[in-house]
């Protein structure tokens, strides 16, 4: 009940801030980029709030608990992506003075068709990123208050769509900034209080020593909602619905739905898809094999490093900076804000290994952040902290979904049809209609695709972004010989290769870890391919233009010289 109240409070505050924002949102410029007058600190908090999705709030700790400390390379890659953005994209893109990435594509290369192609890719990435957010919302609401799956999907979808339609980007900037601080508070405070309450880290052998996670003194009772194919790391006798089941070390046993009782001290069996690990292996960030092998770690770092740069809902935020230097200052602050957040998920992953080992058996390690407070601190303290964490998770879904929806609605209204002749009210109505409409398809998909793996969809969006917009931006900003044909060819090749690799991985499910890493993280291959295609087609297609391109001037000339009137003049 406390958790439900906390979730409702977050939702109310989100809507309230959105309504406050609408008073200021008067023009299309306001709606799209908040009149470009947002200060670096607000912008940095908003960017961070938008970026920290369910995958960061729940996923990192869950993955760490499941596969080991190798999962902690993820937040490093997520954050490092912003350094790449800072070095190559932030200031020039802001100076160029375009609203969306499709605007950039068209204005830089003078090709309306390239704009349409980019807009299609924006819709694809945004849509596929939106589905797992909504799905996560449905699952979380079910976990916290026992609501049916569709309630969470519909509730979050409706709130976000209304908020975006009413407030536009101006409202959303404040909402996102608010949600960054809420999320950081909601993950940091319980982590610190739990450590204080427990008097430091609990018995360390299961975390960092030679032990498997074990049932605590007094035994462990686990309720299985559906049958689980469990692997026993050590020989054990457990009770299933009152009936004794004996399993040898390493045995795979199909446990039926029902109540499983583990006697005190028994090593907890793990669900299919999880490898039982001793503390020493679990704690090592890099090891010889598996999910922490050097190949996997480097592949992951490269993919996240490049994928972040290509996310359209992040890039659109850089247009809300006052000027190029402000865009740089904003990005430096983002690095700090993300770092402050990412210090904490590891606490949950480690504590969860000792305090909620039953999640290994149910396979629900993704819920460790939600479950941990009450498991570690039975009573009112744990319940309050659990409510705070649930509110933070909800903020994570809503903020990322809002950012994506702004991007999608902006693309629908702005990129596919020219409407310079129409007035601002008509354009605002179209933006509002697009915001509502753009939520319908992903929400329906989320309702249907309950079985689809969240990480597959998120990974697909990251890989697609890295293989399309990353080369388009880098070459478009820094290479004066890029042509529209080259860019289009590279976009198509990058998108096709990334998509094909992931679907091949889905269908084939290859056994080899390195093959799997390459297929599920194809950015390592598809990004160089896209770069090469763009460069080769550009060089082959057209002689060098006479210098200097006015577009390059607009990208790189510092402000205040009267030179920064872009190509459109």
């Amino acid at each position: 009940m406390i958790a439900l109240a906390a979730i409702l409070a977050v939702t109310g505050a989100t809507v309230g801030l959105g309504v406050y924002g609408v008073r200021i949102a008067r023009t299309t410029s306001d709606l799209f980029v908040a009149s470009r007058a947002v200060t670096p600190w607000w912008n940095a908090a908003a960017i961070s709030g938008e970026y920290l999705s369910a995958a960061s709030f729940l996923g990192i700790a869950g993955l760490q608990m499941k596969i080991g400390s190798g999962a902690l390379w993820l937040p490093l890659g997520f954050t490092a992506g912003y350094l790449a953005l800072l070095l190559f994209v932030a200031a020039p893109l802001r100076r160029f003075g375009a609203y969306t990435i499709s605007d950039f594509a068209e204005a830089r290369l003078r090709s309306p068709r390239l704009r349409a192609l980019s807009a299609c890719i924006v819709l694809l990435i945004g849509g596929f990123y939106l589905v797992p957010q909504l799905k996560g919302a449905g699952l979380t609401l079910g976990e916290v208050v026992g609501a049916p799956y569709w309630v969470g999907v519909v509730a979050v979808g409706a709130v976000v769509a209304l908020n975006v339609a009413l407030g536009g980007m101006r409202g959303i900037t404040y909402v996102q900034a608010f949600q960054y601080w809420l999320k950081t508070f909601a993950i940091a405070l319980p982590a610190c209080l739990l450590l204080l309450h427990l008097g430091g880290l609990p018995e360390r052998s299961a975390m960092f020593g030679a032990e498997y996670p074990r049932a605590p003194a007094g035994g462990l009772t686990v309720t299985l909602d559906e049958p689980v194919l469990a692997t026993f790391p050590e020989a054990a006798t457990v009770t299933v619905d009152g009936r004794a089941v004996r399993a040898g070390a390493g045995a795979e046993v199909r446990l039926p739905a029902g109540t499983v009782e583990l006697p005190a001290g028994v090593a907890v069996p793990v669900a299919e898809g999880t490898d039982a690990q001793r503390g020493t292996d679990w704690a090592a960030p890099v090891s010889d094999t598996g999910d922490a092998s050097p190949l996997f770690v480097y592949s992951l770092l490269i993919a996240t490093f490049l994928g972040t740069m290509g996310l359209p809902h992040i890039l659109v935020r850089f247009y809300t900076n006052r000027d190029g230097p402000a865009a740089r200052r904003t990005t430096v602050r983002v690095l700090g804000l993300l770092g402050a957040f990412y210090a904490f998920p590891a606490v949950y992953g480690a504590l969860g290994r000792v305090l909620t080992p039953e999640l290994y058996l149910t396979g629900e390690t993704d819920t460790v952040v939600l479950r941990l407070p009450e498991a570690a601190w039975p009573g009112l303290g744990g319940e309050l902290l659990g409510a705070l964490v649930a509110a933070g998770a909800f903020a994570a879904f809503m903020s990322t979904a809002s950012g994506l929806l702004v991007s999608l609605a902006g693309t629908v209204t702005h990129d596919f049809r020219r409407d310079a002749t129409r007035g601002a009210p008509a354009r605002r109505r179209r933006f509002q209609a697009a915001a509502l409409g753009a939520m319908v398809v992903p929400a329906l998909l989320a309702l249907v695709a309950r079985e689809l793996d969240i990480s597959v969809l998120v990974g697909w969006a990251f890989a697609l972004a890295a293989s399309t917009f990353c080369p388009l931006l880098l070459l478009g900003i820094w290479w004066d010989r890029l042509t529209a044909r080259g860019a289009a060819a590279g976009l198509v090749v990058g998108a096709t290769v990334a998509t094909a690799a992931i679907f091949t991985g889905l269908v084939l499910e290859p056994g080899g870890r390195s093959v799997e890493a390459l297929l599920t993280q194809p950015a390592v291959v598809s990004v160089p391919l896209a770069f090469a295609t763009m460069a080769l087609v550009s060089v082959a297609g057209r002689p060098v233009r006479r210098p200097p391109d006015p577009e390059l001037l607009a990208l790189h000339a510092p402000e205040g010289l009267g030179l920064d009137d872009p190509a459109r003049a």
Binding site: T79, P285, V286, V332, G339, P550
Partner: protein, 106 residues
């Protein structure tokens, strides 16, 4: 009417000369970005390798946590900020130099 042409005029009118000024700025900015990228890549890229090649670090405890685990949770993020801050400062300085070149009196 026949005021001397400043580099700014050259840029604004997109002459060959102006192109040279702009290209020089772009090259210097790109050089700075690539230099930072290499330094940063060296830092982040060497972390997994160092932890892989020195498994003995696993037995070193800091605040009750194995050093490799602690090493990737806390220290990299301030280093990220330091890289970003130094880069942004230098990029700003390069732009200031360009500004002074183009508008010597401004």
């Amino acid at each position: 009417m026949s005021a001397p042409r400043t580099p700014r005029d050259e840029l604004a009118e997109a002459t060959a000369h102006g192109g040279l000024y702009l290209r020089r700025l772009i090259r210097r900015q790109l050089g700075l970005s690539v230099l930072t990228l290499v330094a940063f890549g060296g830092f982040l890229g060497s972390l997994p390798l160092a932890l892989y090649l020195l498994p003995g670090l696993q037995d070193v405890d800091v605040l009750g946590v194995p050093l490799p685990l602690l090493a990737i949770v806390v220290p990299p993020f301030p280093v990220f900020v330091a890289f970003g801050w130094l880069y942004a400062r230098r990029a700003q300085a390069l732009e200031q130099e360009f500004r002074e070149l183009v508008e010597p009196d401004g």
